[in-house]
């Protein structure tokens, strides 16, 4: 058991940090420090391409597909340095972290050739079409239909909470391809081009005034017959495999962004005197401890090579960070006091900490609510009997 990195790994860290800091001080200085998903989206698409051109886009992917075949430790280091340098989140994170790995795991050679180079080059932006108005936590209740018609899939239905659909090029869709099928059976996983007459995107305005989610309507939307990943009716397995990619190295980068948020709260508390309040001090200490424990939890999770074992750290990570960050938002407001409740921006845009407070209410909902997470932990981690289900 060890925490330290090798000299070679530290060299890699210096190289990555140096390159990232140079970009953020130069050509891309205008996007440094952005914390929302939507701000300056066009510039950030250029940043995606810039990363791709310099080989820093998806370093964990195999070399033949535009990656660096980077080791786990290198990926950890890059994720940390990326966030430390104040580089904004990746507008194509769905493509890099979900679509790409799914294609690597389930896609045909032809599909890999078709999609992976574009994702790696930052030119193919993906979004995710899972949730529906009546299929959120219960994903197996998907109703969006797909049927074959003259060598093409035709899709009708509606998806919701489609993050960044309005700036994406492609969407992957889980749709019911077998008439009358129920639950996880009869679903198919399709890759669809967004820019077509059968797809309409409507932004959903959120409590913080921003609109990163969308409703996505499919009305006779089409894609070629070979656009499916896996087999017809095998969409559930692909979708579940994809969800398992959602945890991993990117958690370390996420934590570094949390680090920046906590540091901003600490600075605010020192500036306005809140840091003298013993109760605020306790909460700041708890936040700091929680953040550190996330880091070491992630390192444990990443160091575990036996993935056949149910890994407690991995199962509990989502609810851990989401709850931690929600509390952080509340701490931020308590530190700021009433100053946190006003903005000079007439467009209802908020600075980092009030925005964190508002946005973090979503953290404990998306990607599986805290309640669903507790079910997963109890059932998969502790072997508790499943909740009886009504309709199946």
């Amino acid at each position: 058991m060890k925490l330290g990195f090798t000299p070679e790994e530290e060299e890699f860290r210096a190289e990555a940090a140096d390159w990232l800091n140079t970009q953020m001080a130069g050509e891309f200085a205008d996007i440094k420090g952005i914390t929302t998903l939507t701000e300056k989206a066009e510039r950030r698409k250029e940043w995606e391409q810039h990363l791709g051109e310099h080989g820093w886009s998806c370093i964990g992917w195999p070399k033949e597909w535009g990656g660096r075949s980077a080791t786990l430790a290198q990926q950890v280091i890059f994720a940390e340095e990326y966030a430390r340098a104040g580089v904004p989140g990746r507008v194509n994170h769905i493509g890099i972290e979900l679509a790409g790995p799914t294609l690597l795991a389930f896609g045909s050679e032809e599909q890999k050739r078709r999609f992976l180079p574009g994702i790696a080059a930052g030119k193919t932006i993906f979004c995710q079409g899972y949730s529906e108005p009546n299929a959120g936590s219960d994903l197996s209740a998907v109703r969006t239909k797909a049927r074959l018609d003259g060598g093409e899939w035709v899709v009708d239905g509606q998806k919701i909470w489609t993050s960044l659909a309005h700036i994406s090029d492609w969407i992957f869709v889980v749709a019911r391809s077998e008439e009358g099928s129920k639950g996880p059976k009869g679903l198919t996983f399709l890759m669809m081009e967004i820019d077509q007459p059968g797809i309409e995107i409507r932004p959903i305005k959120q409590i913080n005034g921003d609109a990163e989610f969308n409703e996505t309507f499919f009305d006779g939307a089409r894609c070629p017959e070979d656009s499916l990943i896996g087999a017809v009716g095998d969409g559930w397995r692909v979708a579940m495999g994809l969800l398992s990619f959602e945890r991993g190295v990117s958690t370390l980068g996420q934590q570094m962004a949390f680090r920046n948020e906590l540091d901003e709260i600490i600075a605010a508390a020192k500036a306005n005197g809140a840091a003298h309040d013993p109760l605020i001090r306790q909460r700041i200490a708890k936040a700091e401890i929680g953040l550190r424990l996330m880091r070491y939890g992630a390192l444990r999770m990443l160091s575990t090579t036996d993935h056949s074992k149910v890994d407690g750290a991995a199962l509990t990570y989502k609810i851990q960070w989401a709850s931690w960050r929600r509390s952080l938002g509340e701490l931020a407001m308590d530190v700021l006091g009433q100053a946190g409740e006003i903005t000079d921006n007439p467009e209802y845009e908020w600075s980092v900490l009030p925005n964190l407070f508002l946005y973090s209410r979503a953290d404990t909902i998306y990607g599986g609510t805290n309640q669903i997470q507790r079910n997963l932990i109890a059932e998969r981690g502790l072997g508790m009997p499943r909740e009886p289900r009504g309709d199946k």
């Binding site: 790994e9 700041i284 700091e288 424990l293 079910n375 932990i377 502790l382 009997p385 009886p388």
Partner: protein, 351 residues
């Protein structure tokens, strides 16, 4: 970066778990509770047969010569079974003597403590007065003070060895809520202490030994609370279903697991950081002590609640964990104090 047990560490874990599982049984713990709080057979077997008394003591001093990770592994296994033995005293006293003792103290005391022939208790206090090495005053809440043969008494000016039979020393035995680790009061009236050679080295060595032991013990205890409650949740049927199938129940089990996973990260971060002297070893100690003690208390409290009436009885073991957890929360500084140390450090006020 490889933040998982090595094969050797895994082996030590299995050995320690097997040993405490087999020997630190409820019956034996309860027998010790009815006496002076120590299962002497357990203590001797642990030291002699298992030979894990001096995990962090260098081999040339009769120890095992391993690190805090291994020490934590052992303490976690002891905590899992609320073992009634003076492990805390062994770990702290041995660390202090090894780091700061004179050659004579090392050769006289360490073998006896590591062999389980002498019970050691360590206590820190700046309220006693001393005239050179003659000490007077009162030391309260000394873990295993009622049974110790030798005390390591830490004062900012000097650390002393004091023997239980020393003239001027009287020991007041208390009935302690946690009967698996009784607390005593020492009253000193001009007691002659034998000074350690290096005060600072001894005090520095005492901190990771003490706080990692307690944090790891708490982690093990919390895990035991969860495991036992999970078993009960599968066996106990109400309304025609195992109670573990009800969301209101399973969500509380999930919450226990979420806390425990973090506690596990805390213990092994603190252990590793102190072994490697990297990644904020001091911060890690405070984080681990505060977080793990609270986690243990929450899990032990939930264990009682989730067992219903049976969990409140003397017959059930839940109260052993609950009382041990409560005691760890205050022992060697409470959570608020440890978090305040974290706050000072991250607010840039550290001394």
């Amino acid at each position: 970066m490889d933040f998982v047990f090595t094969e050797e560490q895994q082996m030590i874990a299995e050995t320690a778990q097997g040993f405490f599982g087999e020997n630190a049984t409820s019956d034996r713990t309860r027998a010790a509770m009815a006496g002076d709080g120590v299962d002497r057979q357990l203590h001797r077997d642990f030291c002699e047969e298992l030979g894990l008394g001096g995990v962090i003591v260098p081999e040339e001093l009769g120890g095992v010569g391993l690190g805090y990770v291994e020490m934590a592994i052992v303490a976690e296994a002891a905590g899992y079974n609320v073992a009634a033995m003076p492990l805390l005293g062994i770990n702290i006293a041995a660390a202090m003597i090894a780091a700061g003792g004179t050659d004579a103290q090392k050769s006289d005391l360490l073998p006896a403590i590591l062999a389980g022939e002498k019970i050691a208790a360590a206590v820190g206090n700046d309220t006693v007065s001393h005239d050179g090495n003659s000490i007077s005053g009162r030391l309260e809440f000394v873990p295993h003070g009622n049974v110790a043969d030798v005390f390591i008494l830490a004062h900012p000016d000097q650390v002393w060895v004091v023997h239980a039979g020393a003239p001027g020393l009287s020991i007041i035995t208390h009935t302690t809520m946690d009967q698996t680790r009784p607390l005593a009061t020492l009253v000193l009236d001009g007691v002659a202490g034998e000074p350690l050679a290096d005060t600072q080295a001894a005090i520095t060595a005492s901190q990771p030994a003490a706080w990692i032991t307690l944090a790891a013990e708490a982690l093990g205890g919390a895990q035991a609370c969860l495991d036992r409650t999970v078993r009960y949740a599968n066996e106990r049927v109400q309304f025609g279903r195992p109670i573990g199938s009800f969301q209101a129940y399973k969500h509380r089990l999930a919450d226990m697991m979420i806390e425990i996973e973090q506690a596990r990260s805390a213990v092994y971060w603190a252990a590793c950081a102190n072994d490697e002297n990297s990644d904020d070893p001091q911060l890690a100690l405070h984080a681990a002590k505060a977080f793990c003690a609270d986690t243990f208390f929450k899990c032990a409290a939930d264990m009682i609640q989730l067992h219903g009436g049976i969990g409140f009885t003397w017959e059930h073991d839940a109260h052993l964990f609950f009382k041990r957890a409560r005691s760890i929360q205050t022992l060697l500084k409470d959570g608020n104090w440890h978090r305040e140390q974290v706050a000072k450090q991250i607010l840039g006020e550290a001394a």
